[in-house]
């Protein structure tokens, strides 16, 4: 029913917006409002826009109509890859469903996101994503990758080579809650993150820029060296 409904909805939209020229995006929300939603909800893990690269999550340029789990150079959960092979593609309805409740659509997804219930905000967000899919010429000059990172870290902090063996010992504090399997039921998975993202995230907790009391407490007594060690260990931890 949903599949039948969608093309009709889109074509109605096209008719209702006669100014839209062929190939231009149908208005599905307010992309400007969506940019704000994106910054709040998505940007700590995903990049989008010019120069976007995979981070904790894959980059999201051209997400519309892309097959799920189809970037060869990103390590997805096996659940998402399997659904991609089975034909899941990111059309409007699927994006809505996935963003509303990721695990309801892909139960084994590694995306640690609780979902966005508010339909209007979701529509705005999807409209924003759409800007980077249908109209690449519209990619703004100030690419979202230029958004200031959560914490400004000195290059030498980011350059610390983590001691993996020390990281393994330190990781035991993490695995009381975060599973080595990468499972993210109720508690986010932290396996396989790019080291830099891990380091930035931990410093953001340490400086109390991210809200979570347990993580702030854990990070408060981790030094730069320890954070690098953990990042190095979790980056290479096999599932």
């Amino acid at each position: 029913m949903r599949n039948l409904f969608l093309p009709i909805a889109l074509s109605v939209g096209a008719i209702a917006a006669p100014t839209a020229s062929p190939g231009q995006a149908v208005a599905i929300g307010d992309p400007e409002a969506g940019a704000e939603v994106y910054r709040r909800e998505c940007a700590s893990c995903h990049q989008i826009g010019e120069g976007a690269a995979h981070r904790i999550g894959p980059q999201l340029n051209h997400i519309f109509d892309r097959g799920a789990g189809s970037h060869d150079d990103f390590r997805y959960s096996s659940a998402l890859e399997r659904q991609g092979r089975d034909g899941l593609t990111w059309d409007l309805a699927r994006l809505h469903a996935y963003i509303e409740n990721p695990r309801a659509l892909v139960s084994g997804t590694r995306m640690s996101y609780r979902g966005l219930e508010d339909e209007e905000r979701r529509s705005d967000l999807i409209a924003y994503l759409r800007v980077f899919s249908d109209q690449p010429q519209d990619i703004p000059e100030a690419a979202p990758t230029a958004i200031r990172p959560e914490v400004e870290l000195a290059p030498e902090v980011l350059a610390i080579v983590g001691d993996v063996e020390y990281g393994e010992y330190l990781s035991q504090e993490c695995t009381t809650c975060h599973q080595r399997s990468g499972s993210n039921e109720g508690i986010p998975g932290i396996v396989g993150w790019p080291e830099e993202d891990f380091v930035v995230a931990m410093h953001a907790y340490k400086e109390k820029l991210r809200p979570h009391e347990v993580m702030r407490s854990v990070a408060s007594r981790l030094g730069e060296e320890e954070i690098a060690a953990l990042a190095a260990y979790f980056a290479v931890l096999d599932e």
């Binding site: 609780r114 610390i160 001691d163 063996e165 020390y166 010992y169 330190l170 035991q172 504090e173 695995t175 009381t176 809650c177 975060h178 599973q179 080595r180 399997s181 499972s183 993210n184 039921e185 109720g186 508690i187 009391e213 347990v214 702030r216 407490s217 854990v218 408060s220 007594r221 730069e224 060296e225």
Partner: protein
């Protein structure tokens, strides 16, 4: 700075290797025996076996074949979880290379470094880890001892006692009184009694809404008090009454056969009575001569080593270590420190400084979760809290739901970490 630290660690590790050499060379394989397969013992056994890759012979002695966690047993009482959700087998620990023996450890000969079991067999060790949990202090509540536990369950070691208590509450007469005799400090799971009251209230509000809850508490204050009291008023208005020490809560006697509770001389008839007595280290710690006058096993804060014996470590609820609460999370955290030290001393692997932490989540009502926690460090004489946090009163429903979901994530995380 970082080079210095590395150098420091390397020298620690090299020194350890030298000290450990005799143990390694003296026999085929160093032997670790762990008594108790709960959050502390299970973790230490699995970690030593897994991380030493067969270089250490690890034996775990645990009487039960299936372990039922005490944490989250309140959620079973409240009807949020099934009993089976609390149970965990030892297959994963065995698969890590641990020799799991289902028997009672009944004696420790520390001179001969030998543990004897109820079956009569014995097992030698180079390093012994004692993690037996708690036992109850005799006559802590006059009128109650373990022979009365079917009339007035303690339900504080999970298992069938919790099933019994749930059954009694379910069958309580309409408008009846559930009484909890709360324990004095220190005891296992500080927020446990408050969470239990919440879960019983939840259950009664659905099936027996005129039922009453009476808490008799010897303590002036209790863990997460403001959060629980706020929650009880909000969700279960008027159902819960607490009698603290100012009104006789520390002068209580029970009469299990008559189902009476005597509070400061005043006799109250109750319908269900949950007696959680004062606690001490599990009996084997005492039999092994590891406990002090207070009934707990004192340990060195930097490595949980018994102050009575350098080859023995005591973990979790049984240990007297300082500021960490007696919880599964604490035991699991301490176990990792011990695993690192034991393995280092026996095989020369790197020994890192101790890190301890704890968080306790509690459920007050449907989707209304709260938490308290802290990070700890080894002080000179005891483990000390270095930073702590607690949920706020008046938090949004959304945050409370998130906290509850997080607690379930934690349960699945820690049980995977312990049992493999």
């Amino acid at each position: 700075m970082k080079l210095q630290r590395r150098t420091f660690l390397a020298s620690v590790s090299a020194g350890t290797a030298l000290m450990a050499a005799p143990a390694v060379m003296g026999q085929a394989k160093p032997r670790v025996v762990v008594i108790g397969g709960g959050s502390g013992g299970g973790t230490v056994a699995r970690y030593v076996a897994k991380d030493s890759d067969g270089a250490v012979d690890v034996t775990l002695i645990e009487p039960t074949k299936r372990y039922y966690t005490c944490y989250f047993s309140n959620l079973y009482l409240g009807g949020f979880w099934d009993y089976d959700d609390l149970g965990h087998g030892y297959e994963g620990i065995a698969a890590a290379g641990v020799n799991v023996i289902h028997d009672w450890a009944v004696g420790v000969d520390r001179d001969a470094r030998m543990v004897t079991m109820a079956s009569g067999s014995s097992v030698p060790y180079d390093k012994l880890v004692v993690a037996p949990g708690i036992d109850f202090v005799d006559n802590a509540v006059p009128g109650w001892d373990v022979t009365k536990q079917s009339l007035m369950p303690h339900a504080y070691k999970s298992g069938t006692q919790v099933q019994l208590l749930k059954n009694q509450i379910q069958n309580m007469r309409e408008g009846g009184t559930f009484c909890m005799v709360a324990p004095p400090n220190p005891y296992r799971c500080p927020p446990g009694p408050g969470e239990r009251v919440s879960m019983v209230a939840h259950m009664l509000s659905e099936s027996n809404p005129t039922g009453k809850i009476l808490i008799v508490d010897p303590k002036q204050n209790f863990s997460k008090q403001a959060l629980f009291e706020e929650g009880w008023a909000k969700h279960y208005g008027g159902m819960v009454t607490r009698i603290g020490p100012d009104f006789g809560g520390e002068n209580v006697e029970v009469r299990p056969d008559a189902m009476e509770v005597v509070i400061d001389g005043q006799v109250e008839s109750v319908d269900v009575c949950n007696v959680i007595p004062a606690q001490k280290a599990g009996k084997i710690a005492e039999l092994a001569g590891l406990t002090n006058d207070a009934g707990w096993a004192p340990v060195t804060p930097s490595d949980m080593r018994s102050t009575m014996d350098e080859n023995v470590f005591v973990l979790g609820d049984a240990a007297q270590q300082g500021a960490m609460p007696k919880s599964g999370f604490s035991a699991n955290s301490q176990a990792k420190v011990v695993a690192n030290v034991v393995r280092g001393e026996l095989t020369g692997s790197r020994i890192f400084p101790a890190r301890y932490s704890n968080t306790c989540w509690s459920l007050i009502a449907t989707d209304d979760g709260v938490k308290v926690g802290a990070s700890y460090e080894a002080g000179e004489d005891q483990i000390e809290s270095v930073s702590s946090f607690i949920s706020d009163t008046g938090e949004s429903a959304d945050l409370r739901r998130q906290t509850y979901e997080e607690s379930i994530g934690w349960y699945n995380g820690i049980t995977a970490d312990i049992f493999g």
